[in-house]
């Protein structure tokens, strides 16, 4: 099987199929995620790319049961265990222990009144009740050292406000790997950081993946971050995956006009830019989905037929693309 640039027989560690998330709002139901499917294999890195509001974070939050007030349907299996609809107490045992998640803003992600050592040990002791206080503390120092925080033993007693943004994100990563998870979901982990720190952070994540056989799901809006760090990419638009494939294939031969648009937006050193490229129009929102292909109002290649039916993922070149103009596969609905 070569679909989506992957050739292997082993079982995915995380298998997501037709996941749908609908928020109930005062203005009616808002379908934020509309049938997303993807697989994450042990030790590999998958990027989920899209603009804000495309549903990429919501997808991952839904899988971990961290959304309240939303209806979630479809399937997300971790090592065969269905997570959607799983008892909250069972889901809690998986969160942070088997599947961890880190977030965008390291400035607000840590509790301001607890020392980082305390916060680290709390996460460990939540999943390892037998771990002694001193054992947890020793492990916390070890973890801080592992994420390249200097003077780890001293930093253990620091409070979040005494650390820089990059250091706080390192602490977050230390927390996320403290129970040796198999999957790490990183939701825009570098967006709030300085460019130089961004590179260090991606390097750290790559190191951890290699050393711990950690599967990484990297949520980002920045294709530039994705290139060196991941194996496969799912591009999301308006709550759906519009293109899915290996990093090489997708960068070399992007299919979906939206993916091409995103790639054109990347600043390049070899071309002189007068104006930074951008995709015209505004992103579709769950409350105002255009008929047919949700990208068609912004698409340079749109045909009249594009607004009739919503395209489905079908092979095109080396990737799967949801564009009926390219694939010739008629849409649904």
């Amino acid at each position: 099987m070569t679909v989506a640039g992957r050739q292997r027989n082993d079982e995915p560690i995380l298998h997501v199929e037709d996941l749908r998330v609908t928020f109930r709002t005062a203005a009616g139901p808002a379908p934020a995620v509309r049938g997303v499917s993807f697989d994450v294999y042990p030790g590999e890195a998958l990027a989920i790319v899209g603009e804000s509001g495309s549903g990429k974070s919501v997808t991952m939050l839904a899988i971990l049961g961290l959304l309240s007030g939303a209806s979630v349907t479809g399937s997300a299996r971790f090592r065969g265990t269905e997570l959607i609809g799983l008892e909250p107490s069972r889901l809690r045992e998986i969160r942070g222990a088997n599947v961890s998640m880190i977030f965008q803003d390291p400035m607000t992600s840590l509790n301001p009144v607890l020392s980082i050592g305390r916060q680290l040990t709390m996460v460990m002791r939540a999943h390892q009740p037998d771990l002694s206080r001193s054992g947890a503390r020793a492990r916390a120092v070890e973890l801080l050292d592992r994420v390249a925080i200097s003077q780890a033993a001293r930093r253990c007693d620091s409070y979040p406000h005494e650390l820089s943004g990059g250091m706080r994100q390192r602490v977050m990563i230390a927390m996320a790997i403290s129970n040796d998870p198999e999957v790490l979901i990183a939701d825009e982990p570098t967006t709030a950081l300085d460019v130089t720190v961004q590179a260090q952070m991606m390097e750290l994540l790559a190191d951890l993946r290699r050393d711990h056989q950690l599967a990484l799901v990297l949520i980002t809006h920045d294709l530039g971050v994705v290139a060196g760090a991941t194996d496969r990419i799912a591009v999301m638009y308006a709550g759906k995956v519009v293109e899915y494939g290996s990093v090489e294939a997708l960068f070399a031969d992007p299919g979906h006009p939206y993916t091409r648009g995103l790639l054109e937006c990347l600043p390049r050193l070899d071309i002189r830019h007068e104006v930074q490229a951008s995709i015209a129009g505004v992103p579709a929102t769950p409350m105002s989905l255009p008929p047919g292909c949700p990208f068609s109002p912004r698409c340079k290649y749109a045909q009249p037929s594009c607004s009739e039916a919503e395209p489905v993922l079908a092979p095109h070149g080396q990737t799967l693309v949801a564009c009926s103009v390219l694939t010739g596969v008629a849409g649904s609905r």
């Binding site: 971990l64 961290l66 809690r92 045992e93 998986i94 969160r95 942070g96 222990a97 961890s100 998640m101 880190i102 977030f103 803003d105 607000t108 992600s109 840590l110 509790n111 301001p112 009144v113 607890l114 020392s115 709390m122 996460v123 939540a126 999943h127 409070y159 406000h161 977050m172 927390m175 996320a176 129970n179």
Partner: protein, 337 residues
């Protein structure tokens, strides 16, 4: 921090002098005549008695002279002599303060304990029946007048059920324990008199509960609101993503932050109760400062009024300082400097 505390403490006397000056001037500007309560209404028409009384209490002198004298005495720790009790105001306050302190401390403990508990319960079950019941209970506590709530609990627990004793700090025929701290519950224990300790404790329950009920109202609403604020914070989402138990998230993560604003409110409430527990003290015949303050105002007992006001000022300044110190300990982001 030490330097900061030293400055705060050093400034206190100046603030108190300011407070005393304002109250002195305001009291002298009131149109009513304190002589009525000094010599009695009948003697007001007798110029000899009035003149003697004026001379006796220094009221025949000009206000600036009176002020200068009062301030001079105040600097020597003399709050003057009460018109009505004919005793030094300081001794009056000294006698009454422990009763009030004991009552307000007990009320505050009840208020904070139940207030935080109720606030957490309401926040965790927001918009459910539990939340509504908690809100109703809190509203009752802060809106029921103490004389009504006091009479109600006295009727139920004292007259009808007989579970708890009636008004007073001890049974009417009991002798007071020798004063060590002035707190009957503490002094009886120090004397090793368990029977009296039990009596003092039982007498404390009803008035402290009535007074504490209002505190429960304030604290529980505040804790609920700030907990809900904390629940929407990013670090709570992170704690959930890390698989922490809901109990840990609420009690360790959210509550630590939510209690910070409560510290200040509790400090204010304590200072306020010290002079403001009048109704409760009245209903329960509690020989405290509140009763004294009301009597003083009714009789235009200037020295007593100023004395009580200074006491209130001290209470506010000290509790505020304590609150700031606790705040600095509880919130590592705050450095006192």
């Amino acid at each position: 921090m030490k330097r900061y505390l030293a400055i705060r403490v050093a400034v206190m006397p100046l603030l108190l002098l300011g407070i005393a000056s304002i109250v002195f001037i305001v009291s002298r500007l009131t149109p009513a005549n304190p002589l009525v309560s000094i010599v009695g209404e009948r003697n007001l028409t007798n110029p000899t008695i009035v003149a003697a009384a004026k001379a006796r209490w220094g009221l025949d002198q000009s206000i600036p002279v009176q002020y200068a004298k009062y301030m001079k005495n105040l600097l020597h720790g003399d709050l003057g002599t009460s018109f009505t009790t004919r005793r030094p105001v300081l001794s009056d306050l000294w006698d009454r303060l422990p009763a009030t302190l004991e009552l307000t401390t007990a009320a505050l403990c009840i208020g904070v304990l139940f207030g935080v508990g109720l606030g957490v319960l309401a926040a965790r079950h927001r918009n459910t029946l539990i939340d509504h019941v908690a809100r109703f209970f809190a509203l009752l506590g802060s809106s029921l007048p103490a004389f009504w709530a006091g009479l109600l609990v006295l009727y139920i627990f004292y007259s009808r059920l007989g579970w708890l004793p009636g008004p007073g700090r001890l049974d009417p025929r009991a002798t007071e324990p020798g004063r060590i701290t002035g707190f009957f519950t503490v002094d009886t224990l120090l004397h090793g008199d368990l029977k009296s300790f039990k009596a003092a404790l039982l007498h404390l329950i009803l008035p402290a509960s009535v007074l504490g009920w209002g505190v429960v109202g304030i604290v529980s609403r505040l804790v609920r609101a700030s907990l809900l604020d904390e629940f929407s914070m990013e670090y709570i989402k992170v704690a959930r993503a890390m698989g922490l138990r809901e109990r840990t998230i609420v009690n360790t993560h959210a509550l630590r932050n939510a209690l910070l604003p409560t510290i200040t409110i509790v400090a204010f409430t304590f200072a306020f109760l010290l002079t403001g527990a009048v109704l409760t003290e009245k209903i329960f015949s509690w020989p405290g400062v509140g009763n004294y303050a009301v009597e003083a105002s009714r009789k235009l007992d200037f020295p007593a009024i100023i004395g009580v006001t200074i006491l209130g000022g001290v209470a506010f300044l000290v509790t505020n300082l304590i609150a700031d110190v606790i705040y600095a300990i509880a919130d590592p982001r705050i450095r006192l400097s």
